[in-house]
Symmetry: C2
């Protein structure tokens, strides 16, 4: 029986859940992610391996996207001539000779980052084999991918033919990114591919070797894009044959000669052998969990779900790379094209800041290394400073498309987020600030972080509109994306105030602790006294929409003049209220896509207002919120727990924790929801456990656990030192 | 959010699991069971209501079966003319006007025996309604069935047309049992049906009323077998309409005039009203759980599964009836035709003996009241005393078919269990003995129980074969039904020894405590001194196949001469090894269907032999066992725990506890596995918790909980007094 509370298990195969399961069974190591596609393929499967930073803009496409790398998984097996396949009643695409799947189990072992599959299969000959597949992307050496297939002769003495291949004929859902002139190489028991993206001209080398105690594999070179090796062995009754496939992968982002490097690395990997590679890999995973695990006692279901969400953050966080970040769908699917949104800094980053600060730093350096792109965007829009793109790729330029793909009715929809969802710059500053507060990484702050905070502050200083003696921000999109281009989003306005405050605090701190860097930045960013005076003025006179009578924040002026829709009445629902009402109508209503005022309360806590105001805000906005975004439930769980609304908080937490496991949104086929994963961690620690960072370090303030939880244990790093906490529920 | 650890939840509808879910969502009250079929129906659904004791032998069928009663569920709703249906992509059997299901959730609330369904539905008109269905079979008054439908106008002001019906056109998978001359009655807002089984001539009356604050329902009489009422109402926006449907049901097993009684009971029920009926029902459920619940701390998944299995035992156990018993598939499906097997006394009975002794007594009285049938069987087979039937119905005569239905190849298979699976008589004696030991119900024992033990002992006294100075039993089927008509099944032979022992102890006890009854039974059953001397001789000289060298019991002589199959190699498997190997071959191998020697160890414990022998037996038989029967895993969990094999024990327990919830056997569509449900309880208490009954009452001996469990709490009755236990895992 697989390890309890560490294993995601699929028992018996459901073809209709195939794409969902491909996503949740993704493995990865911070360098790449590979979906849980079968080695032998399956009808309508969607194999993908996404390598951080390898973007390409294909002809005719609106924007660049993360490129689906050559598939390293293929292992095709025949048993007495019968092709091994997961055959189901609804997928009888195979014709003679037909086999029969007698049993199936798949397990993702979260504790050691290994995906296994166990299948009992009867060939047309009547012989029965048990096939045990295992795969991992080495966390110890991120360029190594390992597979093992054990084939046990359960009945008879079957003849096994096994073909191991690399498949370069891959696309992104039909869009080709690799130039067709791939370099194919077969040499003894090694096969390799060298490839090049068409527009961005990244090169990639991938090499693979099949290791077995049986006749030396023979290369197959009949396919230009799919080098393969083949071997044949007869298995004696009740004995097993073991096949190890090792693969190495490099790109021109890593080394000058990816193919050659892949080949030499493969030799070294083969010398180590599968067992050693596995041991090194598992040891690294142990370290990850030693830092990042959260133990919930009293709720097995949420315990497993929390580990599952952390696993997906850990496998996608760039490990040795300051020029890649976490896309909205991680590396587990093609959704959102591998683009990086605010999901990273406000959702996925915090668990890393607290438990894997080195990885958090990588994510922030990705932004810092692209600050020129942000300056370009500000300049192009007529502003000063740095204005980070809503969607970011390798270049750091804005890559949000302005128009959607063609809709069924032939029209295109204007996409405004790249123009007016400007809070992203403050979200990044927020991520920097929290990282610095928790880690005390002054070196980063002085060299990189402060500059990001300050230059985005410069942007806001130039962006605000001075009207009637106050500052306003027109034409914004807040977190609630159902309402586009509204004026004075309270979330954005209030976050800008916060931004001005920490910008000034940054300068104060630099003046004392790093005067030379203070002066350097003042000069470089041209932080004139007038500019700083304006920042202070913005703090004082920014318009924060507020209803004095009702003592609530107003999401934006005019919000309450729209049609009221009692969102909770639309229960239960699989689709969003927006989808039910239709786009045209829902934007004219008070239906909110996701935490907006509530998000502000999560990020700023008590600074937002009195407890009374917070409760009023909750009571106002919670029943209007559609949770049409996966980002919403965790933020509600966090704030609900802080306000002592434990039933709602647990309901939202449970929902957030299972968005991907249960496919609560019905779209997990396109990839994991990175933000939901990171949000779950924050709801748990900042919400339920009441973790706060005081001047003396982390502390627990008014913890409120769901009634049935016994306790929550976790550790976080503060200034390089690990602090562990056990939060108990009063009995 | 539904109550944690008390709710079985289906979120979003899976048509391919429909029949599985119909079974697990069965409600019942010990009088009848009704599958979780939708009120409005669904393509290929299998509605059934099974009322205890109503059997009928249809023309051309091999044996009688429990009859599918008229369906009381039908409520058909249209919204602005759109028929409400759960429509899915794969079941678009509905044509215009079409609606759209926007959300679906179904919850079985185990704590109060209520099934709810919550659906958000958009009519073709665009109006949206939320429909909340609720149903229960009253535990307070077993003749009352209650449904409530709340329809909330979420969008618009829809016109609702609601039809409530009774459906007498039901069959058992095509086999008609009800005479077609049903008596249909409509009177004001009441509809009713009087029906009669064709062969057995039971009569049944069912009456139903639709209660709503809207225009008086109008009867529809256009269908001879489906009386219906119809009402129409327009719902104002954001308000709800509530429809209560109350139904009463009686049969000629209960009263002389079922239809008339149903009508008068309906009047009384309507006078009480839904809310009051619900409160009474819930109060009774509270009492059930106060006695029967087992609380597992540290394993939420198994906690819910254990409650689920107990729920299904509780809803099927006859509550006010000494002439019905629990069929192998409970009242939740047509599988095994509602026949009663050994599953009842050895599996389903013990949780009732310990927590609901009155219900346990009912089950044993069912057997006692059919002892004449057992005497007929003994006589017909040339034996003395009472030989209980392998399959039992209302008559108490043997109802095991001798031949199977026609197979795909045109042949029929001879079914031997009715002839030679004779251990059933001892299994019943075992159930009687345990009931008496736990309850101290001397009145039952003296009046009924002792007679069952003694007259079945008389049977065995006449059945054993005296060969070569020892007693043997040829041509038996033990629990391992893969091996039919073997000689000297160690299980059966050893259990017969136990049976002789307790028969003699019964007489000794009667002589002291109830001398008149002792003399009555000695005379009535003709328990001559010669007979009793033979019983003692059987105890001394019964052949118990045992390998002295290996120190193991031999399942039956010749067993180890057959082909050895390494069963664990056939992993993972959905089907049984028997199905994989084929019947013809598997019977020639050492593959064991289910716990056999291991079952003996469970039932007799230390009396079987030394710890060493027990471990040897386990090591021998566990790897040969297919678990082709749902009865197997729980018995292995029980014995594994007693032997300290905790990993295997937990693995088997987890499997047993989820056989029905996860459809581990793929056949739950035909009904719940009553034996597995009862076995789970025994594995938990007798296995893990080490509950034993000593001379001074119940005690905990060497508890061994799975490592991750914190503690198990439960209460059991001993001699009318409740004893509670908390078994903790050492930290």
């Amino acid at each position: 029986m697989p390890k309890r509370l560490w294993s995601v298990i699929e028992r018996s195969f459901h073809p209709d859940k195939q794409l969902h399961h491909e996503t949740i069974f993704t493995i990865g190591n911070g360098y790449l992610g590979t979906r849980g596609t079968f080695e032998e393929g399956f009808a309508q499967d969607s194999p993908s391996t996404l390598v951080h930073g390898i973007y390409d803009h294909a002809p005719g496409m609106l924007v660049p996207e993360l490129v689906n790398a050559p598939n390293w998984l293929p292992i095709r097996i025949t048993v007495d001539g019968t092709p091994f396949r997961i055959i189901t009643k609804t997928s009888d695409f195979m014709r003679p000779p037909e086999g029969h799947v007698l049993g199936f189990e798949r397990v993702l072992e979260l504790d050691r980052g290994v995906l296994t599959r166990d299948v009992l299969f009867r060939a047309a000959s009547g012989n029965i084999v048990r096939l045990i597949f295992e795969r991992f992307a080495s966390l110890h050496n991120q360029h190594i991918l390992a597979q093992r297939v054990r084939i046990i002769a359960v009945e008879g003495s079957p003849v096994i033919e096994l073909e191991s291949a690399l498949d370069g004929s891959v696309t992104n859902a039909g869009v080709a990114h690799w130039a067709q002139d791939m370099h194919v190489l077969t040499d003894g028991d090694v096969i390799a591919l060298g490839a090049r993206t068409q527009q961005s001209a990244y090169t990639l080398g991938i090499a693979s070797q099949l290791i077995c105690a049986h006749p030396m594999p023979v290369p197959e070179t009949d396919d230009r894009l799919k080098p393969a090796m083949r071997t044949v062995v007869q298995i004696q009754p009740q004995t097993e044959a073991v096949f190890d496939k090792l693969t190495t992968i490099f790109t021109s982002r890593d080394v000058a000669a990816p193919l050659e490097t892949a080949l030499s690395a493969l030799e070294a990997a083969a010398h180590s052998g599968y067992d050693r590679l596995y041991a090194d890999h598992a040891a690294e995973w142990k370290k990850y969990w030693d830092s990042s695990d959260v133990v919930i006692e009293g709720d097995d279901e949420c315990q497993l779900a929390v580990r599952f969400t952390l696993y997906h953050i850990l496998i996608t966080a760039p490990r040795h790379d300051e020029n890649a970040s976490i896309g909205a769908k991680t590396l587990s699917g093609l959704g959102y094209k591998g683009h990086v949104f605010w999901d990273t800094e406000l959702f996925a980053l915090p668990p890393l800041t607290l438990t894997q600060p080195r990885l958090a730093r990588n994510l922030l350096m990705y932004r810092y290394n692209r600050i020129e792109g942000a300056r370009h965007k500000a300049q192009a829009n007529g502003y000063e400073g740095a204005m980070f793109p809503w969607e970011s790729t390798d270049t750091g330029e804005e890559t949000t498309p302005q128009w959607s793909d063609v809709q069924p009715d032939g029209s295109r929809i204007r996409i405004w987020t790249g123009d007016t969802e400007q809070h992203i710059s403050t979200d990044i500053a927020y991520g920097v600030w929290q990282y610095w507060r928790w880690t005390g990484d002054d070196d980063f702050f002085v060299q990189h972080g402060a500059e990001m905070i300050l230059d985005t502050a410069v942007f806001w200083g130039s962006r605000v509109e001075h009207i009637n003696g106050r500052y306003e921000l027109s034409q914004q999109i807040g977190p609630d994306e159902y309402h586009e281009n509204i004026d004075n989003s309270v979330f954005t306005n209030r976050m800008v105030v916060w931004h001005m405050q920490i910008a000034l605090r940054t300068l104060d701190w630099l003046k004392v602790h790093a005067p030379a860097d203070h002066d350097r930045l003042v000069a470089q960013l041209n932080l004139t006294p007038e500019r700083l005076a304006k920042w202070a003025d913005i703090i004082d006179r920014m318009y924060i929409p507020f209803d004095q009578e009702k003592q609530i924040h107003i999401q934006f002026p005019g919000f309450f003049e729209m049609e009221y829709i009692p969102v909770p009445d639309y229960t239960p629902r699989t689709s969003s209220v927006q989808a039910i009402l239709g786009h045209a109508r829902s934007i004219q209503t008070q239906v909110i896509k996701q935490a907006d005022v509530v998000m502000m309360m999560a990020l700023l806590g008590d600074a937002v207002g009195s407890h009374e105001v917070m409760v009023n805000n909750w009571n106002t906005y919670y029943p209007r919120t559609d949770h049409g975004s996966s980002l919403s439930p965790a933020m509600h769980a966090w704030v609900g727990a802080r306000l002592g609304l434990m039933e709602e908080a647990y309901d939202m937490f449970h929902h957030a924790a299972h968005i991907d496991l249960h496919d609560n949104k019905g779209n997990v086929r396109d990839g994991m929801h990175a933000a939901a994963c990171g949000g779950v961690y924050q709801a748990l620690l900042f919400g339920f456990c009441g973790l706060q960072l005081g001047d003396d370090g982390p502390k627990i303030v008014e913890p409120r656990l769901p009634e049935h939880w016994k306790q929550v244990s976790f550790g976080v790093y503060y200034r390089g030192k690990r602090h562990t906490f056990v939060v108990k529920n009063p009995v």
